[in-house]
């Protein structure tokens, strides 16, 4: 009896359990993600704004990062490989192929699809949820960004897939749209963006996000580029007129040139009047993506090497000054090369940067060709280093001792015959003069030099002037951390350069010279000069219409924009890549061919198109 009771009770409990289970059955098959954000979020104002910010964040993952920066400047007349260059194919074109190029391809199209989602979902948000005025600004930002990426794509690869609607379900087919159509879409997007973008950066798009003049600048450059492509004067005229209109309205737009070229690269002026468009960085570990290396806590002191969204720009052009600058270095009699010897006066610090030695200015003496015996940097681009302030504003040639070294008269290879100590912060540890110095490296003439002198004849891929425009002394003790300066993608002086090039191509040499003179006369100014000296320099720098040639414009662009992510596109646009590289670049010249003016479509794209017609590669690859 007692057992029967228990039996019944247990039976009831079991039955209850079964019923309980059945009630929750259906729910077991429902999904409620709690930790992720779904595409439908783009249909909210926060989603639209977030989508735009997402694209800006992706732009940050390219401009200023290592591989992308090399893609934009390597293999040109300006740049040669540093001793620790990575992706050597970019510098030499030897073996450059579909498998080692194109880091931005996927990012660009991911952004374009995001923008298409923003435009599609955002346009449909009702006016109560999102005020029409705000919506127009959001849509204008999105259109600018779509044009921005397509312009990059079409310059780099030519015909590319053109998408203007949101792709929400996976497809495995893709095809290339003729460049002409892509240009039409870019121009349409920019014209629409110009209408609704504000004159100056306005919340929430602060800093130097896209504004009306940014879109106008891009439009001018698009016309200029398409003009070269099709040789159409109408496009050049458009480019000139738009660029001129920006100059005319520069006060409205809050834009102007700094009086001193160097001030454009002063960290304090990063968001100043000369800056038109940037990708932002900041020390904030979340919004600034300060140190985005997996497994490393975001924040200062990570000593990051590589990683997405990091501004590593300051480091690429720095040779290994702490290791290769032994105080008793000497010139090897047999090889003629600098032999590193003794302790260095330099240790790595924030002021001098982290030595990556990836890229160097083209300083090699040419052994053949039309410019035999010349160095591009010293004898062509920056031939006038007296009147033009840009050489000294671009390159670091002096390193002041930052660690105390005592040199003994009997130290190995100390040819000075004296013992002495370096004074930190006073003595010059390394000097890279832009002229030959007899007695170098240990003597200036016959005078013993406390540090070492490395004149141009001793420059190699390990010894070269460093680029100082992008240096970030704010790193302090964490000098291995990436820079938090913004990467300046568009600078106001380029408006003059676009106008000059457009006028030149439209046959208007007078205006071309006038525009160039604005840039050149500014470059003549030095704070340290007297007014009379400055006036003399301005006069010396001023050119006449007959001076304007394509090569002159290209040299001028080197002087003005050295290292600013433009050179490869500049040369391609002006159809000068192959010629100038053959003339000036001893590493790439022997390998470059005509087809190199378009980049190879990434092999992944070609391999992954498995439905419909095959995706075509650019000729030659």
């Amino acid at each position: 009896m007692r057992y029967m009771n228990l039996y019944k009770k247990t039976g009831c409990l079991l039955l209850a359990a079964v019923i309980l289970v059945c009630n929750s059955c259906k729910k077991v098959l429902e999904e409620h993600p709690e930790s992720s954000i779904l595409p439908s979020f783009l249909a909210t104002p926060a989603g639209v704004l977030g989508g735009i910010a997402g694209v800006y964040n992706d732009i940050r993952s390219q401009w200023g990062t290592e591989g992308f920066s090399a893609e934009m400047v390597a293999g040109t007349d300006e740049h040669l490989s540093g001793a620790s260059a990575s992706g050597i194919q970019l510098y030499t074109y030897n073996g450059l192929n579909s498998s080692n190029f194109g880091s931005a391809w996927g990012t660009a199209f991911q952004d374009i699809n995001t923008i298409n989602g923003v435009l599609e979902y955002g346009q449909a948000i009702d006016s109560l949820t999102l005020a029409p005025a705000t919506k127009r600004v959001y849509m204008a930002q999105a259109k600018f960004l779509r044009a921005f990426w397509y312009f990059y794509l079409v310059q780099t690869w030519g015909d590319v897939p053109l998408h203007t609607s949101f792709i929400s379900v996976a497809t495995k087919s893709a095809s290339r749209t003729p460049a002409a159509q892509v240009y039409d879409q870019i121009i349409k997007d920019l014209n629409e963006a110009i209408v609704d973008l504000p004159n100056t950066p306005t919340s929430p798009f602060l800093g130097k996000a896209a504004t009306k003049p940014t879109a106008l600048y891009l439009l001018a450059k698009v016309y200029l580029t398409r003009g070269w492509l099709n040789n159409t004067t109408a496009d050049f005229t458009q480019a000139y007129n738009i660029a001129s209109s920006i100059i005319t309205n520069k006060a409205t737009y809050g834009l102007d040139l700094w009086q001193d070229y160097g001030d454009a690269f002063n960290p304090a002026n990063d968001y100043g009047k000369e800056t038109m468009f940037v990708s932002d960085h900041s020390i904030d570990p979340k919004y600034g993506l300060y140190n985005n290396v997996s497994g490393v806590t975001p924040g200062p002191g990570g000593g990051a090497s590589g990683g997405a969204a990091q501004n590593l720009t300051p480091w690429f052009y720095i040779w290994n000054y702490p290791s290769n600058s032994g105080i008793n270095s000497y010139k090897d009699k047999t090889t003629g090369a600098l032999k590193n010897m003794g302790a260095s006066d330099m240790i790595r610090d924030a002021a001098n940067g982290r030595p990556y030695t990836r890229t160097r200015p083209n300083t090699d003496v040419l052994k053949s060709g039309p410019h035999t015996g010349k160095r591009y940097l010293l004898d062509e681009a920056f031939a006038d280093r007296t009147n033009d302030s840009r050489y000294s504003n671009t390159f670091q040639t002096v390193w002041i001792s930052n660690t105390a070294v005592t040199n003994s008269a009997t130290a190995d290879s100390n040819k000075r015959g004296i013992s002495y100590s370096m004074t930190v912060g006073v003595d010059t540890a390394i000097w890279l003069p832009d002229f030959e110095v007899p007695g170098a490296p240990q003597f200036n003439g016959t005078t013993p030099f406390k540090g070492i002198i490395i004149p141009p004849s001793l420059w190699t891929n390990s010894y070269f002037p460093a680029v100082k425009k992008f240096m970030d002394p704010s790193r302090g003790a964490n000098f291995n951390d990436p820079s938090t300066r913004p990467v300046v993608i568009y600078r106001f002086s380029d408006v003059y350069m676009i106008a000059a090039e457009a006028a030149f191509k439209a046959g208007d040499l007078t205006n071309a010279a006038a525009m160039l003179n604005v840039v050149r006369q500014r470059a003549a100014y030095r704070k340290t000069n007297t007014p009379a000296q400055n006036a003399a320099a301005v006069a010396a720098m001023t050119i006449t219409p007959s001076d304007v040639t394509l090569d002159f414009i290209l040299d001028e662009r080197t002087r003005e924009f050295f290292g600013e992510w433009q050179r490869w596109h500049d040369l391609v646009r002006t159809k000068s890549l192959v010629r100038r590289v053959k003339e000036w670049n001893p590493e790439a010249g022997p390998n470059i061919q005509d087809f190199h003016t378009l980049r190879p479509i990434p092999q992944t794209e070609i391999d992954r198109v498995t439905e419909g017609p095959a995706f075509t590669q650019n000729n030659g690859y």
Binding site: Y3, T10, L14, V28, G50, I167, N478, Q603
Partner: protein, 1018 residues
């Protein structure tokens, strides 16, 4: 009176866990591991000895107080009851391909978990270690791979077996289960056996049974061992002189700027070279590890109630300082018969484990790289904190800080798990039973990490750069099974069993991680983030998935001769797209006990012959939850520098997937079980073929469509194989000496039969090819090194792109167009062994027993990332560049025109075609363990007042018998110690390095272990 005795088999082996009962009473005892028993019985009584695997025997006591009994093992253990899905069955009646492994076999290899014990022991089960770091698991595959995928995590989820512990599905780490708690396991291999697990069965099922109480006097047992472990071998690195020469050579053969190098010896290194310094960093770090295991258990009970209690402690320290794995376990089982109709029971397994791995598994990577031309200590005897000072890698902090600054490095994971199963069984009517199984599994994992400055794990110099993280993972799952059983025998010949099931399963997983920098002092570690200088950042994940199932099974036996099993299961899963959530899994199996036939009665030498065959469909739904929904990847952006410009940011990275459905595998299997010559030779042979379709395939999409990849039901694969196992008693001498051998031999041949479309024959970006195994090496074929004479003869000039020079890797120009490009890639091999096998020899003489386990995997490739370079995080970033020290290889110089490795080149961090250097023959034959035991004789035991005592000596991984990889000096062990890390084949920047494979990386090297242990019962 008290009666003592010992039960042995005909072969003289002790029979453990046999029941010795007094006939006609409920008095019973159980034999211990030594076969000993003790029972109170009247002197005229009769003892009944029964157990699985032996023929029951009755013995009259006849007044004896010492009775040693030899029993006959049953014909091929046919009466043995084995565990099958959702029930048990006599082995005689099983139609599927099922392998049982008993406790004794498992214990021949002391190991932290059952998977490690199982290595090389069962045909069709392939187990590869994935590291020697304490607490690391292993990769297990039953009958090969089925799923086309490239990532290790998805390959494990999709192709790994389902683990079931006492009837309840078991997720999470196998290390949470102390191997001492396991009494046996069954491996369900073919689909007719696994289809009963429906969508979770395709990778095979491991049914693990844990120890439960038995009626009889309480038995206390203790198992323990202590061991010492040390590395099998160091990685072969260059010494100081060789390193100096190597750097010089890297400059000489610098292709970009001949004669120069950014990585020449520093002044300090030159001085060290002159002073004859050559530091072996590995020697300074590697140490002996110790393993300790103690397990104490008590079990016993009455006919109505049985209990089992156990507590265990396991501690393993690693070969890297301060690395260890520690586990505490407590277990309790109770089974109670409330009345003749109702039975209830509980099994609770609880473990608490700590894993400490400062430096992680990759410490050797850093030891190999570090310059040998630096003294570990300064002249004043203090640690040389920055041995690479002056070089480009000056920031490296001495690995010896792992020892000297141990309190500044914390890498601890604490795991708490409670795995519980409860059941109630009601006899509703004769033959009809209802059973409720409820599984409740809860696990929580907390990780604490801290890296102080100026340590091996954090090279930053300031305290502000210290970093700490804490993470917490909570996972629970419940499983409710409602089972109805009906057993009926009609006319004594027709035996029918029916099983019905309704099951609900839900898994929940939630995790969060928080990081901070600037912990003000090392002793704080990760204990208080509010003290830190930096802001705390964090992240979290949440996933839930549910499974709803119905199953029915019918077993029919005719006259013990003809067997039929038929099952059907329906599974519904939350992770698939609505409308595609349900799938049906049918299966049937047939068996024929040939020996039961009249015509076999004349063949006395055949003791058992059984033919079985089956077909079934099982599946896989292991898609991560929310794959069908699409995804925005979240980031954040600051417009300008002010907080007003801070915005959350999103990009569309995954598009929705409204058609995602089931992957399924159909398989047929034909098997033969046999026993001949008085059961001295027994064995099984199985052949099978399986076909998998609608594979959950991560399809890489053309990036121009905005998303990088998606999961779709595409592709087909097939696999087939042969499995043979043989056991033989070779010698059974009258003096008690026995020698028996277990052999298993098997192979699996897998291949892709269809990719995303029937017309697609190759997916080169992923390295998938129709007709080839599931992962292959697709790359250029290295044919040697360009030699100086090639250049003289003009051969190098024939290669126009990239231009080739003497000393560089020469690859085959497949299409002969003079250009080496993507079109010259070819299939170079795969990771599928030609065959695998295991061999166990056991010897017994008097009280001594000896077992030797050998296993082999032959004819496959392994990936060796550290022999390659791609300049990135994969491979050895600076291999052959001369920047850092590395594994010593035979590299090309003008005076050493080898074809092995190219000339070093200081000018590049990625040698042309460098990936081709990392594919090596991974074949091996290894001795897994040697175990020598001694069972103390009864007389001694009596004085010690214990029932049985066996002491043993064991050597695990004592030696490698054959391995071309080890022979060539590339590493200490070909078996692998990590996943991935391989560089992408040169010329394919896509994710095509087959990272699903275990690779041989510069991780903690394999260890050899010597233990001494005891099994004691009283």
């Amino acid at each position: 009176m008290r009666i003592k005795g010992r039960i042995t088999s005909e072969a003289g082996q002790p029979v453990a866990s046999a029941t010795v009962a007094l006939k006609g009473t409920s008095i019973a005892a159980t034999t211990d591991a030594g076969g000993n028993f003790e029972i109170s019985a009247p002197s005229d009584g009769t003892l009944v000895i029964s157990s699985v695997g032996i023929t029951s025997k009755e013995v009259n006591i006849n007044g004896r107080n010492r009775i040693d009994i030899s029993v006959a093992t049953t014909a091929n253990d046919l009466e043995q009851v084995i565990v099958i899905g959702y029930g048990t069955q006599k082995k005689r009646d099983v139609t599927g391909s099922v392998v049982s492994v008993n406790e004794k076999t498992l214990k021949e290899v002391p190991a932290p978990n059952v998977i490690a014990q199982l290595k090389g022991r069962t045909p069709g089960v392939s187990i590869i270690s994935n590291g020697a770091t304490p607490g690391s698991g292993g990769q297990i595959r039953i009958r090969g791979n089925r799923t086309i995928t490239n990532t290790q995590s998805s390959a494990d989820a999709l192709d790994g077996p389902l683990l079931v512990v006492d009837g309840i599905p078991y997720g999470g780490s196998i290390n949470d289960l102390s191997p001492d708690d396991i009494t046996g396991l069954e491996v369900l291999k073919d689909a007719s056996a696994t289809a009963i697990y429906g969508s979770r069965g395709a990778g095979g099922v491991l049914l693990i049974t844990t120890r439960r109480g038995k009626a009889g006097k309480a038995v206390i047992s203790y198992d323990g061992y202590h061991g010492i472990s040390h590395i099998m071998k160091e990685y072969n690195v260059m010494n100081g002189q060789e390193y100096a020469q190597f750097k010089q050579d890297a400059a000489t053969y610098n292709r970009t700027s001949p004669g120069t190098s950014a990585y020449l010896l520093t002044q300090a290194e030159k001085d060290a070279l002159a002073a004859g310094v050559s530091t072996d960093w590995q020697k300074l770090i590697y140490q002996n590890g110790f393993t300790t295991s103690h397990q104490l258990s008590v079990s016993g009970g009455t006919e109505a109630t049985q209990f089992g209690l156990g507590a265990g402690y396991y501690n393993e320290t690693g070969i890297i300082p301060h690395q260890k794995y520690e586990r505490y376990s407590v277990r309790a089982t109770i089974d109670h018969k409330i009345n003749s109709r109702l039975k209830i029971g509980l099994n609770t397994i609880n473990t608490l484990s700590y894993i400490n791995t400062p430096g992680g598994s990759g410490v050797p990577f850093s030891l190999v790289r570090l310059t040998p031309l630096a003294s570990p200590y300064l002249p004043d005897g203090t640690l040389n904190l920055t041995p690479a000072i002056g070089s480009l890698d000056a920031s490296i902090i001495s690995p010896l800080t792992l020892k000297t600054k141990a309190s500044s490095i914390l890498a601890r994971t604490r795991r708490l798990r409670t795995f519980n199963s409860v059941y109630a069984e009601v006899q509703i009517a004769k033959g009809l039973r209802y059973r409720l199984n409820v599984g409740l599994d809860y696990r929580q994992e907390a990780a604490n990490n801290y890296n102080g400055p100026l340590t091996f794990t954090n090279t930053a110099t300031t305290q502000a750069s210290s970093n700490a993280s804490v993470s917490n993972t909570e996972a629970w799952s419940y499983n409710i099974q409602n089972l109805l059983y009906y057993d009926k025998t009609i006319a004594e010949k027709h035996k029918i069993n029916l099983t019905g099931l309704f099951e609900v399963n839900k898994d929940h997983n939630q995790a969060s991680t928080f990081n901070v920098t600037g912990v003000p002092a090392d002793y704080i570690n990760s204990s208080n983030f509010s003290l830190a200088q930096g802001q705390t950042t964090g992240s979290g994940t949440f996933t839930e998935s549910g499974l709803l199932s119905y199953m029915g099974r019918a077993n029919y036996t005719y006259n013990n001769r003809y067997l039929l099993t038929a099952t059907v299961r329906v599974d519904g899963s939350s992770t698939l797209a609505p409308g595609y959530q349900y799938f049906t899994y049918p299966a049937f199996g047939l068996g024929w006990n040939v020996t039961e036939e009249e015509f076999m009665q004349n063949y006395h030498f055949i003791n058992n012959l059984k033919l079985r065959g089956g077909w079934g469909i099982s599946g896989n739904r292991n898609v991560a939850p929310y794959q069908t929904l699409g995804l925005l990847t979240a980031a954040a952006y600051n417009f300008g520098l002010t907080s007003g410009g801070q915005q959350l940011a999103y990009t569309v990275t995954q598009v929705s997937n409204p058609f995602l459905s089931w992957q399924s595998t159909s398989q047929y299997d034909i098997g033969l079980d046999f026993a001949v010559l008085d059961n001295r030779i027994t064995g099984s042979v199985d052949v099978y073929q399986q076909k998998t379709k609608d594979i959950l395939l991560p399809v890489n999409l053309p990036q121009s469509n905005g998303a990088n990849s998606t999961v779709q039901n595409l592709g087909k694969t097939k696999g087939s194989g042969l499995e043979i196992s043989l056991s033989s008693v070779n010698v059974r001498a009258t003096n008690g000496f026995t020698w028996s051998t277990d052999v298993n031999f098997f192979f699996n041949r897998e291949q892709i039969t269809e990719l995303t479309t029937p017309s697609e024959k190759a997916n080169k970006s992923n390295g998938w090819f129709v007709g080839e195994p599931l992962s292959v090496i697709y790359d250029y074929k290295k044919v040697g090194i360009w030699q100086t004479e090639d250049s003289v003869k003009g051969l190098t000039a024939g290669q126009t792109s990239p231009k080739a020079y003497p000393g560089q890797i020469r690859v085959e120009d497949l299409n002969g167009d003079g250009k080496i490009d993507a079109n010259d890639r070819q299939i170079l091999g795969n990771f599928q062994p030609k065959w695998e096998g295991g061999l166990t020899n056991r010897f017994a003489y008097k009280g001594f027993d000896l077992s030797i386990v050998i296993y082999a995997r032959m004819g496959m490739k392994v990936l060796v990332p550290y022999l390659t370079a791609d300049g990135g995080a994969s491979g050895f970033p600076f291999f052959n560049q001369g920047r850092l020290n590395q594994v010593k290889v035979n590299y090309w110089t003008r005076s050493n025109p080898t074809n092995d490795f190219p000339a070093p080149d200081a000018g590049t961090d990625r040698l042309n075609f460098g990936s081709t250097l990392g594919y090596r023959d991974g074949s091996f034959i290894k001795c897994r363990s040697i175990n020598l035991g001694y069972e103390l004789p009864a007389g001694v035991l009596k004085r010690l007042k214990v029932n049985s005592l066996r002491i043993y000596l064991n050597a695990t991984n004592p030696f490698i018998i054959y391995s071309p990889f080890v022979r060539d000096g590339f590493g200490p062990d070909p078996e692998g110690n990590g996943y991935g890390g391989a560089v992408n084949p040169t010329g394919a920047s896509d994710a095509s390095a087959p990272t699903r494979q275990v690779s041989v990386s510069l991780n903690n090297p394999a260890i050899r272990q010597y233990t001494i242990g005891a099994n004691l019962k009283f």
